[in-house]
């Protein structure tokens, strides 16, 4: 397996405050990786840094190409979809328009309609609401919409920032099942930041633990899940 995303010595800043202190990690092509850490550890910042949404130094390479100096929209066009924290719904537009926007940079227009249908298969509730203003959807529905919107890009890499946030446990299970399916069947590499560490470790192959802007542990998801410190800090048993 080759590394699809290579992050070296990543340091990110919000104004004068440094949030990441030299992060180094990589994502293998086709893998599902989870990034664990307490609040404020720098998980969201890491995802934002990959999409150049926060001032950073260090190097990030995607499929061999450096991302430094590229604008967010250019990075997205390379095939990196980002489901942001808070879902980023276009609240004033309809559900269907939200999905169309996910595919707005794609050239293969003919496939977009069938892709929207596929999203409705994955998330039937979106089909019932497709003409509705997206802001009127419930939190869970908006989260599904956000994932579906990201998939409409037909991404090579998908970054998810706490997709389970605010969702009922059953819905979270469903969502992760779909993510697993997308990872296996569509060969989309996934990096997911999660508070629900147990579920994330069950599904992921790789895991990184981040503390105050540094990677403190790395390994297969199984190893990490069996690590005593992780169990105590993140899994609670």
């Amino acid at each position: 397996m080759t590394a699809m995303l290579n992050v070296r010595d990543l340091r990110s800043y919000y104004g004068q405050v440094q949030a990441l202190h030299g992060l180094t990690f990589e994502l293998n092509e086709g893998s599902m990786t989870t990034l664990l850490g307490a609040n404020g550890a720098g998980k969201t910042t890491t995802l934002r840094a990959i999409c150049n949404m926060v001032r950073s130094t260090g190097s990030i390479e995607f499929e061999g190409a450096p991302l430094a100096g590229r604008s967010t929209e250019n990075i997205v066009r390379l095939g990196i979809a980002h489901v942001p924290q808070g879902r980023g719904t276009f609240t004033t537009l309809t559900v269907e328009e939200n999905l169309q926007l996910g595919a707005i940079t794609r050239k293969d227009r003919a496939n977009i309609v069938s892709d929207i249908e596929r999203m409705y298969d994955h998330f039937p509730v979106l089909k019932q609401r497709y003409t509705q203003q997206a802001g009127t959807l419930s939190g869970g529905e908006q989260q599904m919409l956000a994932v579906a919107r990201a998939l409409m890009l037909r991404p090579r890499l998908m970054l998810l920032d706490e997709p389970s946030f605010g969702l009922a446990p059953l819905i979270v299970r469903d969502l992760f099942k779909i993510l697993g399916k997308i990872n296996r069947e569509d060969k989309v590499t996934i990096l997911v930041v999660e508070q629900n560490a147990q579920l994330a470790l069950e599904l992921a192959d790789q895991a990184y633990v981040i503390e105050t802007g540094r990677i403190v542990m790395a390994g297969s998801a199984k190893e990490i899940a069996n690590n005593e410190d992780v169990r105590k800090s993140y899994l609670g048993y």
């Binding site: 997205v76 980023g88 328009e97 908006q142």
Partner: protein, 292 residues
């Protein structure tokens, strides 16, 4: 009774101009959340360009198209040079920028073309429309152009990808970038379109108010009133608001004693304040539903 219908029809005709200005105002408001105080001056300058082109012998519609293109490019240039650097600046800085732009364009137009009043031609003629004494062919033309413009904009925003991208960029800029939209250029495009729409308003009203650097002052205030009344987030509302303001202005001028021509402008301002107090989203503005 005939006076009444007459005033309503005349109101709709002038309302068409306010509707065009309001459309331009709404376009920029959607893109950058600010009211462009220089909108009227930009329209005036465009109208002078078209006048100059016609002086050089270019026929009306040729000058019209060239002016649209010039205004579109000019709007984009103004955004790139002046307002892109101010994108993250506080609102007052932007307001200062708009006022500076207003003053600059006004003086430059005066410098180039001086302040004497000029005749401006109408492509529709000024005969009675369909034999009716109530409305002239030029007024009917203004209404027709405004309605066509609204329909074209509707199709652009509802059924084209770039229209959808512009709406997305106005709705949630960060998410728009995350689906790959170059939001900065969407704003520039909004400025270009607003400038082009404004130039249409200018060219349509110039035969009525005559061409001179201060021709758009009152019109812009009515355009603001129309946009606020219709709802700053709704192009459709802007047009309806334009017609309503036109009718209201005419009826108030005719029937409310003491208003006459001199006090018409305060009426527009009173209307703005009333709407903002009673129904801030305007008649057709979408009150944004948000669930957290």
């Amino acid at each position: 009774m005939e006076l009444f219908t007459n005033q309503i029809l005349a109101g709709i005709a002038t309302g068409a101009i306010y509707a065009c200005m309001a459309l331009a105002v709404v376009m920029i408001y959607q893109a950058i959340d600010h009211l462009n105080f220089a909108q009227g001056e930009m329209a005036m300058f465009s109208t002078f360009i078209s006048w100059q082109l016609m002086q050089w012998g270019i026929p009306y519609w040729g000058a019209f198209i060239l002016t649209l293109a010039f205004s579109f490019a000019g709007g984009i240039a103004i955004e790139r040079l002046l307002f892109k650097p101010l994108a993250k600046a506080p609102i007052l800085t932007n307001v200062a920028g708009f006022i500076a732009l207003f003053a600059i364009i006004n003086s430059v137009a005066g410098l180039i073309w001086d302040f004497t009043i000029k005749q401006y031609p109408t492509p529709f003629g000024s005969h009675p429309f369909l034999g009716s004494q109530l409305i002239s062919t030029h007024q009917a033309g203004m209404i027709g152009v405004t309605v066509l413009l609204l329909i074209a904009l509707y199709f652009f925003f509802q059924f084209t990808r770039i229209g959808l991208a512009m709406r997305a960029a106005a709705s949630v800029p960060e998410s728009a970038r995350l689906v790959g939209i170059n939001t900065s250029w969407m704003i520039a495009l909004g400025w270009g379109m607003a400038a082009a729409i404004g130039s249409i308003a200018g060219m349509l009203i110039a035969p009525v108010v005559f061409l001179e650097p201060n021709m758009m002052g009152g019109v812009l205030i009515y355009g603001f009133a129309a946009a606020v009344l219709g709802g700053l987030t709704s192009p459709f509302g802007a047009v309806i608001g334009g017609f309503l303001v036109g009718i209201f202005e005419n009826l108030a001028g005719t029937y409310i004693p003491g208003v006459g021509n001199e006090l018409k402008l305060p009426i527009a301002l009173a209307l703005i304040i009333t709407v903002l107090v009673v129904k801030p989203a305007g008649l057709f503005g979408r009150p944004i539903v948000k669930r957290v």
